[in-house]
Amino acid sequence: MILIEQAKKIFQTKNGPVTAVDDINLSILEGEIFGMIGYSGAGKSTLIRMLNGLETPTEGSVTVAGRTVSKIKGSELRKARQEIGMIFQHFNLLWSRTVRENIAFPLEIAGAPKAERDKRVNELIELVGLDGRGDSYPSQLSGGQKQRVGIARALANNPKVLLCDEATSALDPQTTDSILELLVDINERLGLTIVLITHEMHVIRKICHRVAVMEAGKIVEMGPVLDVFRRPEQLITKRFVQQVTEPEESKETIRHLVEAHPDGKIVKLTFVGVSAEQPVITEIIRRFDVAINILQGKISQTQNGAYGTLFVHLTGNASEVDKAVAFLDAQQVDSEVITYD
């Protein structure tokens, strides 16, 4: 659905040229929810703007739904943009228009007749759950409701692709979750391809099928969300993964745990996908003569299964403990013996 080939974007600034996007190759499948994560300045905003021609690559090409967005201009580009919806961090609604009029705006641009616009707006208001708020002005809505208007507006012309530019970054955690659920719902119901950029791993975990990690204009790591969660390779990816798996205080806590339990072994178990539901702990207690104590843990749901970490403390006869650890290794669970140094 989307193909980015050797895309490069160089901005000329007072302090010399800055490479915002550096030789990126990427293909995104139809119906996929693809996430790009990175800190601010990583180039993700520039990259997502290339997908609807708000930025043109200095080199390389960008193809969306069969159109080479990076080459076309004028009315052809405007036509292509009507098939690519976009939502924004700050919603970017027109305050001078009501909810209905905001949603109708892209239909006006596309030249739809009044009767058709009204019908479509009604459908969209229902789809995003804004019944009864049609005649309100944006200033009368909450952040979450504003983003719903943004989504309805982006979907008005039945786009093939939806671009989300930090769409939940200005929202509180609860509202973020409801907007993310709406996006998943739209993805499933309409088969819409969604590309989103964010700096929150929570967003990636919750709805993305695949993720690309960006740093200094390059994609440093990419793959199915669960794989990246299980085996983050780059330091930056590890830090992002920690955002959701380990609360900030966990390093501290682990140190305390290791200090407090000099006997036995502390093992970090990483569950991915199906194994998260398997009774691994029960098995260990049944098979080996060890005592097992759960110290800390967190299981999160992702689009392709559960992901989580569990810190357990194994005590007992040293050889039994070793056997238990060996057993864990043989399971579909990654285990890592934590030592304090």
Partner: protein, 222 residues
């Protein structure tokens, strides 16, 4: 009682002068609005980072606007006498005041239009572009509606300045309340006439301010 306080006021003349002032003000406000809006849009669109970014066009327009905005109005009228004569055919009367009024006020309003447009959230313009809107659609459906309260309040300020300009134009023969106050009041030492003309001008200004404020409030849904 009024007759006692204003013994020298010729009410018929006062009414005629009021109508002349209103005529000059309203015609010049309408044309200033159109011209100022166009110039303001040009300034905004050609400025840095905007849709028609163009240093040369922006620079030239900005210089013209600044020059005409800086010339004191009374001098501008004199400077424009040959121009006025060429297009109106005379330099006496209400119509003769119009070119100077418009040329004096339009650049002033253009700057206010530019400021009003700058206040629009850049994200909204980007959103419209992302939807596939053409520049003319963005002007008609985003830039003007989103800045309308500021455009109206700017026009209110300009209209009030124009009332003042008509009085100045009146002194050198354009008619209206300024002319009456100067010729019948000042030069013939009839202070009551000057005072009455001032009161009428104040009433006109208050009415313009009231209308402008009402519209601005009604239009602003932020």
């Amino acid at each position: 009682m009024i007759e006692q306080w204003f013994p020298n006021v010729d009410w018929e003349k006062m009414w005629e002068a009021t109508l002349q002032t209103l005529y000059m003000t309203s015609i010049s406000v309408v044309i200033t609005f159109v011209l100022g809006l166009l110039l303001g849009l040009l300034l905004f669109l050609t400025s840095k980072g905007q849709l028609w970014e163009n240093k040369a066009v922006y620079g030239i327009t900005a210089v013209i606007v600044n020059v005409f905005r800086s010339i004191p109005f009374i001098i501008l009228i004199v400077l424009l006498i040959p121009f006025t004569k060429a297009i109106i055919g005379t330099i006496i009367g209400e119509n003769a005041a119009l070119p100077a009024l418009i040329i004096g006020a339009a650049p002033f309003y253009a700057r206010m239009v530019e400021i009003a447009l700058r206040e629009i959230d850049k994200g909204v313009i980007e959103a419209a572009r992302a939807m596939g809107a053409s520049t003319s659609t963005i002007i008609r459906k985003v830039l003007i509606p989103e800045s309308l309260p500021a455009l109206v309040s700017g026009l209110t300020v300009t209209a009030i300045a124009l009332v003042g300009y008509t009085a100045m134009a009146g002194v050198i023969g354009a008619g209206g309340l300024g002319n009456l106050a100067f010729l019948d009041g000042f030069q013939r030492s009839r202070n009551d006439v000057t005072l009455m003309a001032t009161i009428v001008i104040l009433i006109i200004v208050f009415i313009i301010q009231f209308i402008g404020d009402t519209f601005t409030r009604k239009l602003d849904k932020r």
